[in-house]
């Protein structure tokens, strides 16, 4: 009975107007999200190496890749740092992102229009910059030799006397600082955009009424803006946390170019990519197993995020019955 019910539901959907509009998206989501994940799950049970599909794809090793992965996480000194780095990276960058975005949104609110739009432009730049150019900029900024901007500034100020190889010699703080800085700047703009538009939706009279009562910038921020942005802060925090868990493209080149340490500058997501594509010995079964666990973590956190944001209440039904 239940089956035929589902069948008729699907049949109804296919005949509805919505089907035509959703078809392209559904195809793309199935082909490029769901099937790849399913493939990854399949791969995680095979001993696939170096993309030699014909050779390995019909062999099954059960949960061996998973056991190997757990063993490496707990015992391998080259894999352990990746998980410590991932946790530190997510927590610190998240704080930088949310506070930075909030700070910028509030600061620009109290500025004149020209200054505000200038600031917004400047801080949006990292998100919109081609990743290769963006990585190149920070590659030179943090470069370990005397051509690095940071080194030359500190040397000119007399704080240090020899160039410091930030990403390779000060382990783990150097590479952490760099990847957090580089990703932090990209993430800040997301919070800034969301908070800025949320603030612009607050009735202007609230702020002006407080001004008439003599409120300062700080007390307007504390008593009016932040309480009214509560929902948005939760939203940005959870959304940004998911982004940070899965992001790897802004770190990729920094590791490849040797700016940061391969072990203490790599996050979980990047580890999977490198294991599958750039490692000398591409251990795909292992990469897939690590990936499947990451998918599970992401899905759990994502569902949690939707709960926290009150997603159910956000969705309005369309009007009318046509």
């Amino acid at each position: 009975m239940a089956k035929s019910n589902l069948f008729s539901k699907i049949k109804g959907f296919v005949r509805s107007d919505a089907f035509i509009f959703l078809l392209p998206a559904i195809i793309l989501i199935i082909v490029f999200y769901l099937i790849p994940i399913a493939v990854s799950v399949y791969m995680s049970f095979t001993p696939l190496r170096n993309w030699n599909i014909q050779r390995y794809i019909h062999e099954f090793v059960g949960f061996e890749n998973y056991w190997r992965f757990f063993y490496m996480v707990t015992h391998d000194p080259t894999v352990q740092p990746i998980f410590i780095t991932t946790v530190v990276f997510i927590v610190v960058t998240l704080i930088v992102n949310v506070l930075g975005g909030l700070g910028l949104a509030i600061a620009t609110f109290f500025m004149g229009e020209k200054e505000a739009s200038g600031t917004q432009l400047l801080w949006l730049l990292p998100r919109m910059t081609p990743i290769a150019v963006y990585s190149m900029i920070w590659y030179y900024f943090f470069h370990g030799s005397a051509i690095g901007t940071l080194n030359s500034i500190l040397m000119a100020l007399g704080i240090i006397h020899h160039p410091i190889d930030w990403g390779q010699s000060i382990i783990p703080w150097g590479p952490w600082m760099i990847i957090i800085f580089v990703n932090g700047l990209v993430g800040v703009s997301y919070g800034m955009i969301v908070f800025t538009s949320a603030i612009s939706n607050i009735p202007k009279e609230l702020v002006i009424a407080a001004r008439v009562d003599g409120a300062s910038n700080w007390s307007i921020t504390k008593n009016i803006l932040i309480p009214l942005l509560k929902w948005h802060i939760v939203y940005v925090t959870t959304w940004q946390m998911l982004s940070l868990l899965t992001t790897y493209d802004h770190i990729f080149l920094l590791v490849e170019w040797g700016l940061v340490n391969r072990y203490w500058g790599t996050t979980w997501a990047l580890y999977i990519y490198n294991m599958a594509f750039t490692a000398a010995e591409k251990d795909l079964g292992l990469a897939a197993a690590a990936g499947v666990i990451l998918v599970i973590v992401g899905a759990v956190l994502g569902l949690l995020a939707l709960k926290i944001m009150g997603f159910d209440k956000m969705v309005k039904e369309p009007r009318g019955d046509i």
């Binding site: 009735p203 009279e205 609230l206 002006i208 009424a209 407080a210 001004r211 008439v212 009562d213 003599g214 409120a215 007390s219 008593n223 009016i224 309480p227 009214l228 509560k230």
Partner: protein, 372 residues
């Protein structure tokens, strides 16, 4: 004692839009002054200039003899109520009212005393623990007023505080607000686009249009002696009737020709018409000062017309009469039975009608007063 004085105040916005131009206005101590005008006329701009939210482009603003032109709002000791009341949605009623006092860093027990006092006065002391969205419109509006009054301001500024209420409530709050203002004796400036509100509450009304003050006077003055056609047409419901007429001279005196029929120029207007040397005037008369009679006599006091429509309004009827193309309205008792297309005679009260110059649209009195 606070007298609010605006001297030649002009506000031009960055966009180049002229907010107000050359405003001169004095609001006396304890006075209830209404700023009346259509939307976009500059009345709210005037209020925000007085509050210090806008900075005048030129001109000065005084509170008594103190020049406050460049003083930020917090140093002016004003209470301000917005059209949407601007209650803080995340604060309880108590905290909303206490907010201005907390900014002043008053001790908490003193805040408590003052908030309770004000809340009691406005009969919202039962709702202090609720959030604004849990209150009705009328209650929210009281909270907004309480928040403005709690800091004992020298001047109370109200920006259309009643326009978000439904019609029934608006009328009952009107009387209440007026009593409250008289009891507290605070100089009050009240912005509204509702002429009935201004007439009912204000001691004096300043009518604003296109960024300029057109007339200042008591409700009685503004209503019965409008300075311009705009004022006459803006106040009253239904508004004043306006009909263009030609001036002719005969042995007995001056007459006005309305669609070929004669109407005597009132005696007190004769010298003004002669002095101005006008060939044409606009005759303004209020519907309630206009009699409609079924039979006409040649007296120079009435004009023949045809009934265009009859609108029963309950207590009385409004008759729309077609005077050779001009539609005029008159209020008649219910006992008078009229039907459409019936010929009738319209007789405006000669003592109460107002004559305007068609070119400048100003009343002849104003025109004359300006000339001397």
């Amino acid at each position: 004692m606070v007298v609010v004085r605006l001297v030649n105040v002009t506000k031009i916005f960055k966009t180049g839009v002229v907010g107000v131009k050359d405003i001169n206005l004095t609001v006396n101590h304890k006075e209830f002054m209404a700023l009346l005008g259509p939307s976009g006329s500059g009345k709210s701009t005037t209020l925000y200039l007085i509050a210090g939210i806008y900075k005048p482009s030129s001109g000065k603003i005084f509170f008594d003899d103190r020049d406050v032109t460049n003083l930020p709002p917090k140093d002016r000791n004003i209470g301000l109520v917005f059209q949407n009341w601007a209650l803080y949605p995340h604060m309880r009623v108590y905290d909303n009212i206490a907010f201005p006092l907390r900014i002043k860093k008053l001790p908490e027990n003193e805040i408590r005393k003052k908030v309770l006092e004000t809340a009691k006065m406005l009969r919202i002391d039962k709702f202090l623990n609720r959030y604004p969205w849990q209150l009705s419109g009328g209650q929210q509006q009281r909270v907004a007023i309480a928040r403005a009054l709690v800091k004992e301001p020298d001047v109370l500024l109200l920006d259309e505080p009643l326009s978000n209420l439904d019609a029934q409530l608006r009328i009952s709050v009107r009387a209440e607000l007026k009593r409250l203002q008289k009891r507290l004796g605070i100089t009050t400036i009240y912005v509204t686009h509702d002429q009935a509100e201004a007439l009912a509450m204000a001691d004096r009304i300043a009518v604003i249009n296109n960024g300029r003050i057109i007339q200042i006077g008591t409700p009685e003055q503004v209503y019965s002696k409008p300075a311009t056609i705009f004022v006459g047409g803006f106040l009253g419901n239904p508004p004043m009737n306006f009909v263009e007429a030609e001036i002719t001279e005969e042995k007995q005196g001056l007459y006005m020709l309305l669609s070929g029929q004669k109407l005597t120029v009132p005696k007190h207007y004769e010298p003004l018409v002669r002095k101005a040397g006008l060939r044409k005037v606009v005759v303004g008369f209020r519907p309630e000062d206009t009699a409609v009679i079924p039979e006409c006599r040649e007296t120079g006091e009435c004009i023949k017309g045809r009934v265009y429509a009859v609108e029963p309004m309950g207590r009385e009827y409004i008759v729309v009469v077609d005077l050779g193309g001009d539609l005029v309205k008159a209020i008649v008792p219910r006992s008078l039975v009229l039907i459409e297309d019936q010929e009738v005679c319209v007789c405006p009260s000669l003592e109460k009608l107002v004559l305007f110059d068609p070119k400048t649209e100003k009343s002849l009195e104003t025109l004359y007063a300006e000339k001397t």
